[in-house]
Amino acid sequence: MPEAPKPITIDSPVTITVNGTEVTAQKGELLIDACERAGTYIPRFCYHPRMNPVGMCRMCLVEVDTGRGPALQPSCMLECGDGMSVDTQSEKVQKAQDGVLEFLLINHPLDCPVCDKGGECPLQDTTMSFGPGESRWVEEKRHYRKPIPISETVNLDRERCILCDRCTRFADEVVGDPLIHFMDRGANTQVNTFPGEPFSSYFSGNTVQICPVGALTATPYRFKARPWDLEEVDSTCAGCSVGCRITVQSSRNQLLRYNGVDSDAVNWSWLCDKGRYGFETVNSEERLGQPLLRQGDHLEPARWSDALAAASRLIADGLGRGGADGFAVLGGSRLTNEAAYAWVKLAKGVVGSDNVDAQLGDGLPAEAVLGLPRATINDACRPGGTIILLGPDPKETLGALYIRLKHAVVEDGAKLIEITPQRTGLARYAAASLTYRPGEAAAVIGALLDGSGTSESVAGLEPAAIAAAKAVLDAASGPVTVVLGRPSIAESASTIVDAATLLADRVDGVRFLSALRRGNVHGALDLGMAPGLLPGRVRRDAAAEWFGQAWPTVPGKDGLDATGILQAAADGKIDTLVLLGADPLSDFVDRDLAERALTGARTVIAVDQFLTESSQRADVVLAAAGFAEVSGTTTNLESRITILNQKVTPAGTSRSDWSIAVDLADRLGADLGFESPEEIWAEIEELSVVHSGVTLELLATQPTEGIVVPLPAPEPAPVESDESDEADGSTSEAEAPAVEAPDATDSEAEPEPVDDGPALIEAPELLEFRPAAATAVPPVDSYALRLVAPRTMYDHGTLVAHAPASAGLAPASTLRLHPSDYDRAGIGADGRVKVTSGNRSVVVAASVDASLPRGTASLAVGGDVAVTRLIDVAAAVTDIRLEAAR
């Protein structure tokens, strides 16, 4: 599968001649790409359109005449210039290509019958198309031990390797993990790791995908299938919110492999290993294959009709007792858009409760995410732009975004200002790094934006460090993009929102790229899975009338967020708590509150793929279908909608989340009004303002890149009046055209909003962010350390734990401390320490990390020691004290 050239815009055209035919190319474009776009494929091994050319394999030699006579030149190294003439088929070229291919084959083992690559191997294919046909080699071939593991998941067969430098270049240039390299020289040159240092890159699986031979194979796929037995569909990885485009491959109804697809707007064909091997989670033996019903102190398998009957009876009983306020739904950020909408319609439109939150207190308030001006990845990565990272470490949480941001900084001259409580994987590329004291991000932003600079230290940072970052920001001439998320769950979301508010107010044209992490959290929020919102990025109060036309009911007041729901449950005020793929015991920021909530809720209904710590405590567990088992759409962190395709049948009798919602509604006496994902999408397109116009037909025209919502407004008619007069929003008609009110029987979506239609009810306006009062952060207690709780790529969470390739990679929990804090803490020889926060405490191993600021301690989320046991969700920051563990 040769990689296609990356898309380009021709703004400075030159004419080149390819085999006698004149074609137009972009000046400076690589000749190999220009020829391919013109329909002439030049064979290659080392060249990859997403990496810098190296001209090493010499397979792409062609005769090029730039005015000094034809000469053999590597077409991957030559930039197109006007008048260039290329012959890709001359006798000389064929001889050279024959020769190079023969050189590559003489030491190649030709063990194709037992090689995973056989059947999809560029070396095989190129040999068939361009090769000499027979070998003149009679000597002994090179021998190495076959294969050697170079990481937990990647195996290296040096006999098959043709030394194209793709994997080594990828590791070094693309992801900055130069852990594999060439060793020895001449015919003994080999790729290998450094002694004792495995290729432990989060992105190592990409090297397997781009290897042009079978030298690199991945343990999860090794010997599982032959390429000609695979079936595939395109889809979007649901591992995190970046939304990398992938092909999902299966054989005999079992998922076997994901490969990255080159989406120019998103992942450029790269994937992180957690996403790449995520199919193992779908295949897990631990998957729930049928519903479970509580019988006393344990859960028993049940039939669907019994389980659904029990669930609906419990819900109905609860509504009878406590009304809609006693009903709450937690989770939903890993559903498809369609399932999210179905559940929102069930909770808000049938039950009438606004107590719905897709996040678990570890994200940001929905209105900040949806209401601040949004940026796409391409916006953020624009050459010459400035990126402010005020969020989690992209390398740990949003792998492909890390790759894009790194490329923007290293290759395209973007400037990165890192404002995080601890250094991230991008720190070494950052123009400035400000590691602030947790909770005080807003103070740092304030100092950065302050006209005069600062002479005092702010948030633990020296004035010089702030001045250096300020100089970078002040020099920004291009767009400024803030990558916004929660750097640490041990500081409250409001402290980050305060910082974002300052940036939004005071940096002209600033845009925000959300770094919320869970697969479809942005789709869930867009579809109203947050209190106070309804589908379409609209406020409940503003849109109540609009949805009142189409839904049985609409909540009468704003509901509770995750923290509020759990607090109410702990207080005995929640009758029915639905966990929609949520595991609050593991994932909610405050474990103590989650414990009390699950005890306090009268009924817990879990919709899940696995029996998690939380769903084990449910009264009814409904088995949900997983990724690639359902069709639908998903929304990434840019609001980009892409299509998910089903590839295999759901595990056991598990059912899609949306159909569970439909059935429950039915048993509660309501018809949700749809019977397929397509019908749900039609309703979304019709009712949701932000999705208006995005029909499935339109989506089908962008199979790889999808469509960012909302669609750009149609060309506005010239406005006569002065713009400043409209600032109060009184002229909203121009921005939010009235849409024909939906009627219940209408199944056909309007392709475009119609301005002059019979406007019965005005479509609601998209919400705008309204800043809240700033959060008070308590002063630093000099006897305490302030806690950072960042996320890591591999943790003990459900998705990782059920993928054998990734499960072993979760690091053991360790509290990282600045060396001086470590020495002061009096930690014993065993390295273990008791960490106390208020009346909560854990015992954990401690280690030294000089990159942390003094007075800060870091304990990752999702480890074997739960940092959420230390966090009080009501506090702005988490201060801890250390004592020797006994």
Binding site: G55, K95, F103, A187
Partner: protein, 487 residues
């Protein structure tokens, strides 16, 4: 074969002492010895340079047409001029990674007269405005490294290197860097990679010259040890005196390293363009004649990558253009003499094996092709040759270096010794270098290959262990031969 008339204008009677004048002085390598012996006073050239403007120094060097002595023969002054104006800092990198079989002139220069090289570096640094010089010395040359280190310490102590040299505002640091023993690092971009701490592999071109983007992507002049060692004498005596030596196209003297089957091998300073190979081999001042009872069979006229010459070529003068027109090259001045006792196939294997071992492994044709050639040649010597092997050797060679090799410079068209377009499928010329001995040997001695393949030459096969019989004769003269390939 075409020949080019020699344009010699130099006076052959002038003393040959531009760079070798202290080789026989016991303390010539010390600062004291450098100042008090030899054909000019040590560091006087630096004083003269400092009394002029950098532009004047550069003009003097350009006027003298000092050709680079590393192999390509490019005029040093012109190379300096390639530095883009106004781009700083600039670096000078001294290529002391001499490691081709039979080449050992720079080693002697560094061992016997390190201050001469240091002074040359200072003059060059002053001319182009470099504040830092990197002396890259081949890893195996421990003695040369020690001599240079000692000389640098003396020079720093005497304020000849460092800040405010000799009380002026001219400051230069000279850094001594030891290589790790890779022939390819003699290629200037690979040398720069190695100096930066990377694997020594050639960079891709363009940029074609490090003067535009070299060390740390800054303008960098890479000069050979011998080239820079010419500068002190030149500054002392002026361009006109320099041009009195040698030919019009190649002024000055040059060092050649003669090894192999002559009575007194060694490094000799000769008149460029006027001295002939015959003089070099037979004259008592130089090689001293062939071994008794033997006659010349072939010789490598300028480095292992040069196509071989034969007895009919001995009257050619040692001048790049002439040698180039005759189908070979003068290169780094490494001349290997092989008499009638030499087995052409073995000699061919010896040279090819060197290139196979020294291939950096970066591009496929060189990495795979050179070792394939080595295997075929070894197999022929082992008595396992096949009749098709000769054509196979030639075709593999053609796949590394398509077309006739080398494309001789054509003086009528004013072409330089390095032809454009490059006749290679490789990134750098190392791979094609292995082709020269193969085509030379097969063209002239095909019958020897055939004899081995058809086993008519059983005696040769029986004694075929190459390592037991070194290619060159026993070392004698001014210096031992340094030609054993690095294994």
């Amino acid at each position: 074969m075409t020949t080019v008339s020699n344009t010699a204008s130099g006076d052959a009677s002038l003393p040959l002492n531009i760079v070798t004048s202290r080789w026989d002085v016991a303390d010539g390598h010390t600062l004291e010895g450098y100042k008090n012996s030899g054909s000019y006073r040590g560091y006087a050239g630096l004083e003269i340079a400092l009394s002029k403007s950098p532009q004047q120094v550069g003009d003097e060097v350009r006027a003298a047409t000092v050709l680079g002595r590393g192999g390509a023969g490019f005029p040093a002054g012109t190379k300096w001029g390639f530095c883009p104006p106004g781009v700083w800092p600039r670096y000078i990198v001294v290529n002391g990674d001499e490691s081709e079989p039979g080449t050992y002139k720079d080693r002697i220069l560094m061992e016997r007269d390190p201050h001469q090289l240091i002074e040359g570096c200072l003059i060059a640094a002053y001319a182009i405005g470099a504040a830092q010089v990197f002396l890259y010395v081949r890893g195996e040359m421990a003695h040369a490294q020690e001599r240079i280190a000692a000389a640098l310490n003396e020079a720093y102590a005497a304020n000849l290197v460092g800040n405010n040299i000799l009380g002026t505002d001219f400051s230069v640091d000279i850094v001594l860097h030891w290589g790790a023993g890779a022939y390819i690092v003699g290629e200037e971009t690979a040398l720069i990679e190695s100096l930066e701490g990377n694997r020594g592999m050639p960079r891709l071109k363009p940029p074609y010259f490090p003067a535009a983007k070299g060390l740390y992507l800054k303008p960098t002049v890479v000069n050979n040890v011998e080239t820079l060692s010419n500068l002190p004498w030149l500054l002392n005596n002026g361009a006109e005196a320099y041009k009195a030596y040698g030919s019009e196209a190649s002024p000055g003297t040059r060092l050649v390293a003669v090894s192999g089957h002559v009575k007194t091998p060694g490094v000799f300073e000769i008149h460029q363009g006027t001295t002939t190979y015959r003089e070099l081999f037979e004259d008592e001042r130089y090689g001293g004649g062939y071994r008794d009872g033997h006659s010349l069979k072939m010789f490598i006229p300028g480095g292992a990558s040069a196509p071989w010459f034969f007895p009919e070529d001995v009257d050619l003068p040692l001048e790049g253009r002439v040698v180039g027109a005759a189908g070979s090259m003068l290169g780094s001045g490494a001349i290997v003499v092989m008499d009638d006792s030499t087995d052409a196939v073995k000699a061919c294997l010896r040279v090819v094996r060197f290139f196979a071992r020294e291939s950096c492994g970066k591009c496929s044709p060189c990495r795979e092709g050179t070792s394939w050639e080595e295997k075929i040649l070894q197999r022929i010597l082992d008595g396992q040759g096949r009749p098709s092997d000769i054509d196979l050797l030639l075709d593999v060679a053609d796949n590394i270096s398509p077309g006739p090799y080398p494309v001789a410079a054509d003086p009528s068209q004013g072409l330089a010794a390095v032809p454009f377009p490059p006749k290679q499928t490789t990134i750098c010329p190392l791979g094609p270098s292995s082709v020269a001995p193969i085509t030379s040997a097969i063209r002239r001695f095909r019958h020897e290959f055939e004899a081995k393949i058809t086993k008519r030459d059983l005696i040769a096969v029986a004694s075929a262990s190459l390592d037991d019989r070194p290619l060159a004769g026993s070392a004698a003269g001014a210096a031992a031969q340094d030609g054993a390939p690095h294994a």
